[in-house]
Structure formats: structure tokens, C-alpha cells
């Protein structure tokens, strides 16, 4: 599956955030997420010989993370209450599958956002992620609504260039 450490590292970097967010939402708990996902990667590297080149890494990672979370919840009494509303099915449900997809998209957009100028990124995030209106953003940043609009336009232009080829 991974021919070398460099490949393993690039998979780790691409999936770490989406997986942690996935576990955070499934387990309703932020403290577990990183431990769970790191354990999944440790296990995956140690057992990499079992998988061939065609393994669907994406499904494997999300399923394994869900499985590992289940293991954590079962072991620790403190998490018993979460276990009750946890669907223990090994495969991902349609909802979970969709969640995984949208988290991967969010990772992509977040990666692209890093290429935006700081001001421009802040305005875009305030509008898109925090749901603030143009006039609210204008007031908070002490800039005109026209400037907010210009920042948004610039953000869209850069994102479009980065996300579509």
C-alpha cells in the first residue's frame, strides 16, 4: 500500500485533519480524536504488508478510524454514555460516508485558503464559515462594505484558480 515512508507521510498529511474531524463528530468528543487517528496510522504502517496497491485508502482510513473509536469507547467507562447512541456497524452508514466526503472537501478548501492573503482569507472565513454578513464584517474590521466585497471577489478568484484546472 505504501511503498515508502514518504508516501505514508503524504497520506498522513492529507487525511489527518479530515479523520480527526470525522471522529470528533462521531464520538461527540474532541479529546479522543487525535489519539484515535494517531493509533490508526500507527497500526496501518505496522500492518501495511497486508494490503495491496489497489486498496482504497480513503474508505480504509475512515472505516478503521470508526472502528478504533468504537474500541476506545468500549474500553473506557467514562465514555459509556456515548456508546449508547453509537451505531456499532463496521461499515460506514450513508450519512457517515457523506460526512467523510464533505470533510475531505473542507480539507481541500482549507489547504487552498492558506494561499490567500491574510486579510482576504479572514474576510472569506468570517463570511463563509462564521456566517457573518458583509456589513457585520465591515464593522468588525473597520473597513467599507466595498472593501469586504473586493476581498470576497479576490478570494473566489484565487480559490477558483486553485481548485479548478
Amino acid at each position: 500500500m505504501f511503498r515508502n515512508k514518504a508516501e505514508f507521510k503524504s497520506v498522513f498529511e492529507a487525511y489527518y485533519n479530515p479523520l480527526c474531524n470525522f471522529i470528533k463528530r462521531l464520538g461527540n468528543d474532541n479529546t479522543l480524536a487525535e489519539d484515535v487517528v494517531q493509533d490508526v496510522f500507527l497500526h496501518l504502517w505496522k500492518t501495511r504488508q497486508q494490503y495491496n496497491q489497489d486498496t482504497d485508502i480513503k474508505s480504509l482510513l475512515f472505516q478503521a478510524s470508526k472502528h478504533k473509536l468504537f474500541e476506545y469507547l468500549r474500553k473506557d467507562k467514562a465514555y459509556e454514555k456515548h456508546l449508547q447512541n453509537f451505531n456499532g456497524n463496521q461499515d460506514l452508514s450513508a450519512d457517515e460516508d457523506q460526512l467523510a466526503e464533505s470533510l475531505l472537501k473542507l480539507e481541500k478548501i482549507n489547504q487552498s485558503l492558506r494561499h490567500l492573503p491574510t486579510k482576504c482569507r479572514l474576510v472569506f472565513e468570517m463570511h463563509k464559515f462564521k456566517g457573518l454578513t458583509y456589513s457585520e464584517i465591515a464593522e468588525i474590521n473597520n473597513i467599507s462594505i466595498k472593501t469586504v466585497e473586493n476581498h470576497m471577489l479576490k478570494a473566489i478568484k484565487i480559490l477558483r484558480t486553485l481548485l479548478t484546472n
Binding site: 507521510k9 486579510k119 462564521k130 471577489l153
Partner: protein, 309 residues
């Protein structure tokens, strides 16, 4: 028709029917166009997304898996040195093979004393790994930033392996090094050291600073007073310009400082020395010196206003 303007209007649901149709046609042109519009159309409750510290997590995982970076040239040097090979084989035949120490820091600065009594202060999210048993060779790799005080030992020099078969050779000295995929910054405080790079050796003397630009190494003339402030907890400003003060504060306190576009900081500079002071108390002084106004934001701090004589 400017497609970006149409997309912006779509986000605000203010397209005319005609514009909407133009956008639909553009959308159908490619899969990635569809994906982009889907992304931009996500509602704010769907876009909740925590950004974890991936670099830090990778350091932890690679340390637990015992990954180390071993460059080919250093391997070759080792392999060709017959006497070392013999020592290594004896070492393994004795069955004493053990894992080599790895030192790391998370959010805070960590101080370590190595086996040879050399001292290392690791800045946040950094990792130092031994590449050899110290009794055979003092060879390490660094991912991140560290301040070193190396014990003098001419017979067994201290070697920091860099990327691309390059390395730093140290006899006994103190220096600061930033080394990761994108940055390299080396400042020598006392003693001498050698940087072995691109088939040449660069000798550094006390006070020298060297950085990497487009893959080649450049010696810098100006001294950066606050490059090691995270270790000394001392900030020194000597007629330092406003943007440089902000940059140093950002680095020292690991925060994000935004500056209002309309600020005029042409005459703002600072003479000051802060030892063991909190960010709040420094900001309070800047408020007095520069007539500064600032506010706390979700991203960090926003400088709203300045007025310097």
C-alpha cells in the same frame, strides 16, 4: 462575463435569471467547476472544521514508529569507515541493540541534557533524534528549531544531519538552528562550526548568521536580536521598526497579530528591553509609547490605531 462576480452574486443569492443560466452552463463544463460551487455553497453549520496541528502529530507518530532521516552520504561515509563498521557489527553481535533516543516538544519549550552533557532547548513542535549511539558518533537530526550548547570533544564531533546530504559539524560551541522542509536559519553565538553543503565547506565564526535562499546558503550581515528570545525570554528592540516589533512579538508569543490597513506607522519605532514579561504587559507599554489601540479577535490581536510623533 466575469465568472468570479457571478459566483460572488450566487453566494449572496442575488443573480438575475440570465446570470444564473450563464453560471449553470459554466458549472456543467467540468467536474471541478461543480465541486467548487458545491464547496462555496456549503452552509455555515456544515463548514465547522477544526484545524489540528498536523506537523506535531506527524512528529509524534514518526517518533513512535522509530523513523529517522539518514542521508545517503552519511550512510556511505559510515559504511566506508571500516573501523566504525567493525564497532557497529560488534555492537550488534553483542545483542545490545537498543532504540536510539528521540527528544521532542509539543506546545512548550523543552530542555534536554544529552548523554555527552551537551544541552538542547527545543522550541515548540520540534524533534531531535539521535542517528547513532553517542559513544560511536554524536550524530543527530533536527526537525524544527533548537538552541544548542555542545560539549567540546575534538575526537568525536557533533554532527547535525540536514537535507540533501548536507550537514553541520560542531566541535564545541553554542548556536541556534531552525531546520525543516522550508526553513533554514543558523546563528552562531560562541565558538566555530562548519556547514558542509553542496560540495563545499562554509566556516562560521562567532556572531555569523546563515540562511538558505532557493537552496543555496547566504551569510547575513544584520543580527537578529530576538531570534532566540523563546529560549532566553528576553526581547530587545533597538530603534526597531513597527513591523519588525510585531513580527518578533508574533514569534515570541506564538500569536497572530493583524494590522489595520489604514494605519500609518512611518514614525513608529521602539527602544526597549523586556525580560520575562507577559504579552499583556508589553502591549500595555506600547499603548503608552505609540498611542496604540488594539482589540482581541478570534484570530489573535488586531492593531486598530497608532499615532507616533
Amino acid at each position: 462575463m466575469n465568472i468570479d462576480k457571478l459566483i460572488l452574486k450566487l453566494l449572496n443569492k442575488s443573480n438575475s435569471l440570465e446570470e444564473f443560466e450563464t453560471l449553470e452552463a459554466w458549472k456543467q463544463e467540468s467536474e471541478s467547476n461543480i465541486a467548487l460551487l458545491e464547496l462555496l455553497n456549503m452552509k455555515s453549520d456544515e463548514t465547522e472544521y477544526t484545524k489540528y496541528n498536523v506537523k506535531n502529530a506527524w512528529n509524534k507518530v514518526s517518533a513512535r514508529l522509530g523513523f529517522i532521516n539518514f542521508s545517503k552520504s552519511l550512510k556511505w561515509i559510515l559504511a566506508s569507515a571500516a573501523f566504525i563498521a567493525i564497532i557497529i557489527s560488534l555492537y550488534y553481535f553483542n545483542g545490545q541493540s537498543k532504540s536510539l533516543p528521540v527528544f521532542q516538544s509539543d506546545e512548550k519549550v523543552n530542555h534536554f541534557v544529552l548523554q555527552d552533557n551537551s544541552e538542547v532547548w527545543l522550541n515548540n513542535n520540534s524533534l531531535l533524534a539521535h542517528l547513532e549511539d553517542f559513544e560511536i558518533s554524536r550524530m543527530v537530526s533536527l526537525e524544527g528549531e533548537a538552541f544548542f550548547e555542545i560539549e567540546h570533544n575534538t575526537a568525536n564531533p557533533f554532527i547535525i544531519e540536514l537535507n540533501n546530504n548536507e550537514f553541520i559539524k560542531v566541535i564545541g560551541t553554542s548556536f541556534k538552528l531552525v531546520n525543516d522542509a522550508s526553513n533554514f536559519d543558523l546563528i552562531l553565538y560562541t565558538g566555530k562550526l562548519e556547514l558542509h553543503a553542496l560540495n563545499r565547506i562554509i566556516n562560521l565564526e562567532q556572531g555569523d548568521r546563515i540562511t538558505r535562499v532557493n537552496g543555496s546558503y547566504v551569510k547575513l550581515k544584520d543580527r537578529d536580536f530576538n531570534a532566540s528570545s523563546w529560549k532566553t525570554d528576553e526581547l530587545l528592540f533597538d530603534n526597531t521598526s513597527f513591523p519588525d516589533v510585531i513580527k518578533d512579538l508574533e514569534n515570541h508569543f506564538h500569536i497572530n497579530i493583524q494590522i489595520n490597513d489604514e494605519i500609518n506607522y512611518a514614525n513608529c519605532s521602539l527602544y526597549a528591553k523586556y525580560k520575562n514579561q507577559s504579552l499583556d504587559s508589553i502591549l500595555e507599554e506600547l499603548v503608552k509609547i505609540w498611542n496604540m489601540k488594539f482589540s482581541n479577535t478570534s484570530e489573535g490581536i488586531m492593531i486598530d490605531y497608532l499615532s507616533c510623533q
